[in-house]
Symmetry: C2
Subunit: 366 residues, 2 copies
Amino acid sequence: MRLSVRRGTTLLLCVFGVYTAARALYHALLCQSKLVHNHRVSILVKGSNQTQYHYNQDSPMVFVGGVPRSGTTLMRAMLDAHPLIRCGEETRVIPRLLGLRQGWKRQGEERQSLEDEDVTQEMLDAATTAFLLEIIARHGEPAQVLCNKDPFTLKSSIYLSNIFPNSKFILMLRDGRASVHSMISRRVTIAGFDLSSYRDCLAKWNHAIESMLFQCTLVGPKRCLTVRYENLVLQPRTMMMKVLQFLDVPWHEGVLHHELAIGQPGGVSLSRIERSTDQVIKPVNLEALTRWVGHIPRDVLEDMKNIAPMLSRLGYDPSANPPDYGQPDPQVINNTERVLRGDFKPPASLKRLSQEKMLKASSTRG
Amino acid sequence: MRLSVRRGTTLLLCVFGVYTAARALYHALLCQSKLVHNHRVSILVKGSNQTQYHYNQDSPMVFVGGVPRSGTTLMRAMLDAHPLIRCGEETRVIPRLLGLRQGWKRQGEERQSLEDEDVTQEMLDAATTAFLLEIIARHGEPAQVLCNKDPFTLKSSIYLSNIFPNSKFILMLRDGRASVHSMISRRVTIAGFDLSSYRDCLAKWNHAIESMLFQCTLVGPKRCLTVRYENLVLQPRTMMMKVLQFLDVPWHEGVLHHELAIGQPGGVSLSRIERSTDQVIKPVNLEALTRWVGHIPRDVLEDMKNIAPMLSRLGYDPSANPPDYGQPDPQVINNTERVLRGDFKPPASLKRLSQEKMLKASSTRG
């Protein structure tokens, strides 16, 4: 049967009508399912390039942490240099909310009271997730992989791994003697650490890293990776390849040159008040590796393996001052020479506060 | 031109196709706009009758509060008896989060530090809104109008009125002498109130109600309503008509018989641990109206207008023991007689704890 023009047109119109109906119906159902899905929080953020990023509790997320002064800022700065990842500065509020949340979780009178008021743990999880996602998603330029660095959040790794099912964790490890020397010499106030005592700070370091490592182990190696600061500064390429592979993110050479991305769009945003800012404006270098040697009081040195048993558990010889941390890559040696030559000065926007802090800190720095 | 059956069918199919396409497209666009709208949190809750309730920060919401022991539980119980409103028990966590939030708002070092870390007040508002909405929306059966009662939240009325643009506030007022006698005689622990001293509690009551009234005044009469406990128990019909009109909710006789809705679906959910539970299981009555008379130490009575200037500002004569609060409705007199006869016993599920509390509380009750 030959088709007349008119019949053909009519047929085409019908086919088109049905096709459009089917497509629109499909999209409507898809859209509706997004609404009714158990995504409690659905956040839309517009990037500077007008791209829209859609985040929810299933979004991939990275939490970087550890005991302060263990290279957490360096790690997050290197990740920030990757175009697909954004960490940004510390939020300060996330650990506070997590602290509140843990208080409502602990078995006891408070938890019982909440249950008597019909406030369930599930409700508190929903609310906490919503709060955290809002902060993390909005705290800087959007990116495919959101990241957050508040050192002590890794004390809540298990909890975070449950409320954010696609989250991963990077726990920075460092020779406790170096971390403690850094906090004392730079006078970095950390709740619970008595900066007038190496002994006390080492004991607190020990307790904190033990707790965070425990959480990391329970979260499991697929989701929690430990990274040694010493390895990161000695062999950054090897370490970052490992980190990016762990995060399932393609390699990008920029992570080895984070100092070039400072203040750049999609790059590294630094805080004037954070205590490592004056260090991470420089390329990866060995300045801080063994600065602690010779500064720890004799009696503490002699008692080291009792004060800080985690040192040997982590592979740091408590009686070696210092241990042999490993061999540096040529690039890092080169960076260190440039840094020692004075090639890296803080940018104007960060300079003033850095200078004030440098003046305030006493003689030896770590 | 006459239409053949076949042509007619074809035509109908085309029309139907276009119509379906248009409808589905319309719904798809509507749905999409719901996603991209600035509703940061979009919560879907299923009611027991399978109805879906969709909440966001623009949802109508009621916050009930005041100084504890001012009839806040009675008010929320009466509202809970309305089929369109759900308050539920105290959450306890909402005031804690609001406290944390206010700490991050206060001008000073903390706020500056947050700004240096790029954590803006807007971000904190988004996160706080998300948290509160999750708790309020999930804390009990869903309803058209969500309501929350944590007495001290009315210290944050202005803040809440900003983050929830369609929220309203009910501030319970009561003769401070009655509130204070109630907390002391029932030993109701309230942070900052020294239960061994009428003088201290009255001064604290004064400060708290002044602050909450100030907030209420600034929020404005369209959004914040003050309700006197005395008026509520003496003329409940008049007062509840005023309250429901203020809330823009149709009248429902059930609000005058909240005691019949206890533990009912869509009714009044009571907490075993809340201190007014043994009172609100009874119908609105006059038992607690003037119980305070004769219990306040003489020296405090003589100094009353200096200790608690808010008394006269609120219209309570500080030298009258008691003032004339007004005339009771016949229904309330009837209720009170039934209560005094012993007609209302706590239900089994609430009984045990109530009895324990009654045994613990000392002689006179208020």
